[in-house]
C-alpha cells in the first residue's frame, strides 16, 4: 500500500507572535518552527498502516526552503521518502494554493491513500485535505478517528458533533483528514535520524499558484473596555442590564 502524508510547517507555539508592518502576516523572519501537530498524528497513522499492511509512506510538503526541517523530521520517524514543493510564494498561502502545490507533487504517485492532519495550527482552515481530494479527483472523509483497510476498501470512523461517531465505508484511493490524538506518537530514534540522512527527498516544481483569497488584515483580538452606566430607578436599571447582557453581550440567554 502506498500512503502519502501531507505535512505543514507552522510557527512554534513557543514563539511570541508579532504582526508585520503590512498587517496581513506575522513577522516570521526570526520565528521558530515545528511540525503541525495534527499532521504528526496523520504521519503516525500512516506509519502504523504501513506496519500492518506493508508498502511505503511518502511524506509531502509545500512551502519555502525551511520546510525541509519538518520533512526530515518525518523521515526520521519512519517515512520512506519525501516530495518537496519548494517555493517562497507558498509562505502564508491559502488552502487552495497549498493544495494545488501538493497535488502537483502527488498526481503521478498513484497513492492508495493520502492522509493530512485535520487542520493546521496556524490558519486552521481545515480545507487543504478537502481541496486536495477534489483536485486529485479522489473521494475524501474528514475528522477521522480510526482507519481500517480490508480487501482494497476503507472503513473509517468519523467524529461528529456532540460526542457522536460514524463509520463510513469508502473505496480506495481516497484522502482522509486525521483528527489529533487518535494514536500515540512515536519518537524520533537515533537510528531513524541517521537513516533519514540517506533518504530520498525529491524536489517538485510548484505549479501556477492561483490564490483564491487574500488576507486583508491580521490582528490580535482587540481588548476594549467599555463601561456603560445605566441610569434610572434600580428596578428599571436591572431590567435594562438583563436585556443588555442577553441581547448585546450575549452572555446569558
Amino acid at each position: 500500500m502506498k500512503i502519502a502524508v501531507c505535512v505543514k510547517q507552522v510557527v512554534s507555539r513557543e514563539w511570541q507572535l508579532r504582526v508585520d508592518e503590512s498587517n496581513t502576516w506575522i513577522r516570521d523572519q526570526d520565528a521558530s518552527y515545528e511540525l503541525n501537530e495534527p499532521d504528526a498524528y496523520a504521519l503516525e497513522e500512516a506509519l502504523r498502516l504501513k506496519e500492518r499492511h506493508g508498502g511505503e509512506v511518502v511524506v509531502c510538503s509545500a512551502g519555502p526552503a525551511r520546510v525541509s526541517q519538518v520533512v526530515r523530521e518525518a523521515l526520521a520517524r519512519g517515512a520512506d521518502r519525501a516530495l518537496l514543493v519548494e517555493d517562497d510564494r507558498l509562505v502564508g498561502a491559502d488552502a487552495f494554493a497549498t493544495a494545488s502545490a501538493l497535488a502537483a507533487a502527488l498526481k503521478d504517485e498513484r497513492c492508495d491513500l493520502v492522509l493530512t492532519g485535520l487542520q493546521s495550527d496556524d490558519s486552521g482552515f481545515a480545507q487543504t485535505g478537502v481541496v486536495l481530494a477534489e483536485t486529485l479527483g479522489l473521494p475524501h472523509a474528514t475528522i477521522i478517528m480510526e482507519v481500517q483497510v480490508a480487501d482494497g476498501a476503507l472503513r473509517v470512523k468519523r467524529e461528529l458533533e456532540g460526542g457522536w461517531f460514524q463509520w463510513i465505508a469508502m473505496p480506495m484511493p481516497a484522502v482522509l483528514t486525521i483528527q489529533s490524538g487518535i494514536n500515540q506518537l512515536r519518537y524520533a530514534t537515533l537510528k531513524g535520524i541517521m537513516a533519514a540522512k540517506k533518504k530520498d527527498v525529491k524536489k517538485v516544481a510548484a505549479p501556477d499558484l492561483a490564490p483564491q483569497h487574500e488576507i486583508v488584515r491580521l490582528y490580535f483580538p482587540e481588548k476594549a473596555k467599555a463601561t456603560r452606566l445605566i441610569d434610572g430607578a434600580p428596578a428599571d436599571a436591572a431590567k435594562e442590564l438583563v436585556r443588555l447582557l442577553r441581547d448585546e453581550a450575549r452572555v446569558i440567554s
Binding site: 513557543e14 500515540q184 506518537l185 512515536r186 519518537y187 524520533a188 530514534t189 537515533l190 537510528k191 531513524g192
Partner: protein, 626 residues
C-alpha cells in the same frame, strides 16, 4: 628427585589449566570495544589504596563480614613471598627456606595465618548457617570448598612449626599445602574467586565519578548496546569480576520493593551469556524482561560494589540500544516528544516560566552585574511547590547580598534523556544549553535541583563546559554561616538525602548543618547520607505510572515516617513529588518542606522581631510574598 619431577608436572598442568581458563575470558575482554579509562590517576590510586589495600568499601557496608574478608585478604597478601619461596624450593630451583630471614618471615606470618583462619571460618559459618539473602538462595558448594581450602592452607602452614622438615608427616603436610594452592589455581578462573586476580584492575579502572556514562559518538554511528558484542571492555571485565556478594542487590531500591530487577543478576547474566559465546544475542534476550526500565539510576549498586563494577553504564548502555531502535516504553516516548517539541519534560509552553520570573522579580543574568546564574530547571519553570522553594532561596540570596540572575530561556538539562538512554535528545539539549551559557558569560551556576547539578556539573564537562555548579544547600550553608538565627524552638525533622545530592555529589553535611543551625534536630532514617534509599523518580521513572511490586516511594516514605519526626525535609523537586505522592496514599499527616523554605522560614523569623513567638510549625513557613 622424583618428587621434584612430579611437582613440576603438577605445576605445569595446573598452571596450564589456569591460563587456558583465564585466556578464554580475557580474549572476550580484548575483543570488546571501547578504551579503558585512566583519567585522574591520583584519585584512582588513592581509591585503590582505600578500597583494595585497606578494604574500606568491603568493610563499610558489612562491618563484620567485611573485616573477616579483610583478614583473609591481608593474609593472602602476606603469604605471597612465602608461597613463592616454597614453589622455588619444590621446583628445585632455589632453596631459600633455610635463611634466617625466611624463618623470621615465617614466624611473622603466624598472626596473619591465625587471623586469616578466624576470618575464613567466620565467613564459612555465615555462608552455610546464617545465609544472608544477598548471597543467594542456595549455599554455593564451590564457595564452601574454597573456604575449606583456605582454612587448610593456614592449618598446614601452622603445622609446619611442629613437624620436622624431613619427616614423613612433614612431607605430607608440605604436599597438602602445595596441592591445595595448585587446586586453588585451577578453581579460581571459573568461579567468583577470579576477583582475586581481576578486582585490583576493575577498581583502578572504575570511573572516578559515580554514574559516568560516556557520550555516544554519532559520527562513528554509535547507538548504544544492542547486542552483547557492544558491551565495552570494562563492562566485560566487570562481568567476570563479580564476587556475587549481593551488596548491590541488598541496596537496590527496585529489588527492595519487589521488582524483578536485580543488579547482581544483571552482571551474572552478562557473564553467562558472554561465556556461552552468545555475542549476537540482543540485550532483551540476555536480561529478564522489563528489568532495564526498572532502574532509577540511584547509583546504590555501583557505589556499594566492593570490586569496582559499574552497573550504570551497563544499564544505560542497554537502554540506549533499545531507545535507538524505538523500543522505549510508551511513557518515555511521550517524554521524548515533549522534549523535542517543547524542550521540557512536561511538554508545557514556557509562558509559565516567564510569569514566574516576573512575579518573583528575577533579573535576566548579566555577567557584569551578577555573580551567580540561578538555573531554574523544568521543575523551577512549571512546578508550583518547587517554585515556592525557589522563592525562599531567592529571599535568602537577597538577604545575604548575593547578586544573581536567570537565563531568559532554558531547556531541560537532558537528565531524563541521558539516564533513560536517549543520548541523541540529551546531546541536542546539552549543546543548545551550553551555547546559551557560553553566550551569557556565566562562570558560576546555582541550582536547587540535584539532577541539574549532576547533568550541568558533570555530564556537560564532556562538552568542555566547565563553569562551577553548586547546589543551593552548599551555597546557602556557606553564606548564612555568619548569621545567628533567632530560633526559639527545636523541631524534630528528618532529612531525605536525594541520591543525586548525597550519593552522587557527596553533599551530606551541608543540609544537616543548615537544619541544625536553623532549629531542626535531625533524626536519621534507615538508609541515609551517602547511601540513601531512592524516592523512585530517577531515570525517567517519574513518568512511569504502573510500578511493579510496592512503589519505591512508599517504601521510602515508611522509612522516613519511622523516624517519628513529623516533618520531612527534602532538597530535590522530584523527591518531593514522589514522597508527597506516597504520603497522600498513606493518608499520613507528615509535613513536607524544602530545605530552602525551612531555612528561609527561620531566617524571616530571626529578622522580624514581631514574629519572635515560638511556633511549632515554623518550618513550614509560607513563602515570602513576591
Amino acid at each position: 628427585m622424583i618428587e621434584t619431577l612430579i611437582f613440576w608436572a603438577l605445576c605445569l598442568g595446573f598452571a596450564a589449566s589456569f591460563v587456558v581458563q583465564v585466556w578464554r575470558r580475557l580474549r572476550l575482554v580484548a575483543r570488546a570495544p571501547g578504551r579503558l579509562g585512566f583519567d585522574r590517576p591520583a584519585l584512582r590510586v588513592r581509591r585503590f589504596l582505600r578500597d583494595v589495600v585497606f578494604q574500606s568499601r568491603t568493610i563499610a557496608g558489612r562491618p563484620l563480614a567485611g573485616f573477616a574478608h579483610a583478614l583473609v585478604f591481608w593474609g593472602f597478601v602476606a603469604f605471597a613471598g612465602y608461597s613463592s619461596t616454597e614453589f622455588l624450593y619444590g621446583l628445585g630451583l632455589a632453596d631459600l627456606r633455610r635463611t634466617p630471614f625466611f624463618e623470621a618471615y615465617a614466624v611473622a606470618l603466624v598472626p596473619f595465618a591465625t587471623a586469616c583462619l578466624v576470618g575464613i571460618l567466620y565467613l564459612l559459618v555465615r555462608r552455610v548457617f546464617a545465609r544472608p539473602a544477598g548471597l543467594g538462595d542456595h549455599v554455593s558448594m564451590e564457595s564452601v570448598v574454597i573456604a575449606i581450602f583456605i582454612a587448610a592452607l593456614m592449618i598446614t602452614f601452622l603445622l609446619r612449626f611442629g613437624l620436622a622438615d624431613g619427616s614423613v608427616a612433614g612431607r605430607v603436610n608440605w604436599w597438602t599445602h602445595m596441592l591445595v594452592i595448585l587446586a586453588f589455581l585451577a578453581l579460581i578462573p571459573a568461579s567468583k574467586h577470579l576477583h582475586l586476580v581481576l578486582s585490583p584492575f576493575t577498581v583502578l579502572l572504575k570511573s572516578p565519578v559515580l554514574g559516568t556514562v560516556p557520550n555516544l559518538d554519532f559520527e562513528k554511528e554509535e547507538v548504544g548496546t544492542e547486542t552483547l558484542k557492544d558491551l565495552s571492555r570494562k563492562q566485560v571485565l566487570d562481568a567476570f569480576t563479580c564476587v556475587e556478594c549481593g551488596r548491590c542487590q541488598d541496596n537496590c531500591p527496585a529489588f527492595g520493593s519487589g521488582k524483578v530487577l536485580n543488579p547482581k543478576k544483571l552482571i551474572l547474566d552478562s557473564q553467562d551469556a558472554l561465556l556461552e559465546g552468545a555475542l549476537d544475542r540482543r540485550v532483551v534476550e540476555v536480561y529478564d524482561e522489563g528489568v532495564l526500565w526498572q532502574c532509577t539510576t540511584c547509583g546504590a549498586c555501583e557505589s556499594q560494589c566492593p570490586v569496582g563494577i559499574e552497573h550504570l553504564p551497563l544499564i544505560i548502555g542497554a537502554r540506549r540500544g533499545l531507545v535507538s531502535n524505538g523500543e522505549a516504553p510508551d511513557y518515555l516516548g511521550n517524554v521524548y516528544n515533549q522534549l523535542e517539541r517543547r524542550g521540557n519534560i512536561w511538554g508545557l509552553t514556557y509562558e509559565a516560566r516567564q510569569k514566574f520570573i516576573e512575579s518573583a522579580g528575577l533579573e535576566i543574568f548579566d555577567a557584569a552585574k551578577h555573580e551567580y546564574l540561578v538555573w531554574l530547571g523544568c521543575a523551577g519553570a512549571f512546578e508550583a511547590d518547587f517554585q515556592k522553594a525557589l522563592r525562599a532561596l531567592f529571599d535568602i540570596l537577597r538577604a545575604c547580598g548575593v547578586r544573581f540572575g536567570v537565563l531568559a530561556r532554558e531547556r531541560c538539562t537532558g537528565d531524563v534523556a541521558k539516564r533513560s538512554g536517549n543520548e541523541y535528545m540529551f546531546q541536542e539539549l546539552a549543546t543548545q544549553n551550553i551555547e546559551d551559557f557560553r553566550a551569557s558569560g556565566v562562570t558560576k551556576i546555582l541550582t536547587s535541583c540535584p539532577h541539574c547539578l549532576k547533568t550541568i556539573g558533570d555530564d556537560y564537562r564532556r562538552f568542555g563546559f566547565d563553569a562551577d555548579v553548586v547546589h543551593s544547600s552548599v551555597l546557602v550553608a556557606e553564606i548564612t554561616r555568619g548569621l545567628e538565627p533567632n530560633v526559639a524552638t527545636v523541631e524534630p525533622v528528618t532529612f531525605h538525602d536525594p541520591c543525586y545530592l548525597g550519593r552522587y555529589a557527596g553533599h551530606v553535611d551541608e543540609p544537616r548543618e543548615l537544619l541544625e543551625r536553623f532549629g531542626g534536630s535531625v533524626r536519621e532514617p534507615d538508609r541515609t547520607r551517602t547511601n540513601p534509599f531512592c524516592c523512585g523518580a530517577g531515570g525517567g521513572l517519574l513518568f512511569e505510572e504502573k510500578e511493579e511490586g510496592t512503589r519505591i516511594s512508599d517504601v521510602r516514605f515508611k522509612q522516613l515516617q519511622a523516624t517519628g519526626a513529623g516533618t520531612v525535609v527534602t532538597a530535590c523537586p522530584f523527591c518531593s513529588i514522589m514522597l508527597k505522592g506516597a504520603q497522600a496514599s498513606a493518608q499520613a499527616d507528615t509535613e513536607f518542606v524544602d530545605l530552602m523554605a525551612f531555612v528561609n522560614g527561620r531566617l524571616q523569623k530571626a529578622a522580624d522581631p514581631s514574629a519572635g513567638a515560638p511556633s511549632a510549625s515554623a518550618g513550614a513557613a509560607p513563602p515570602a510574598a513576591p
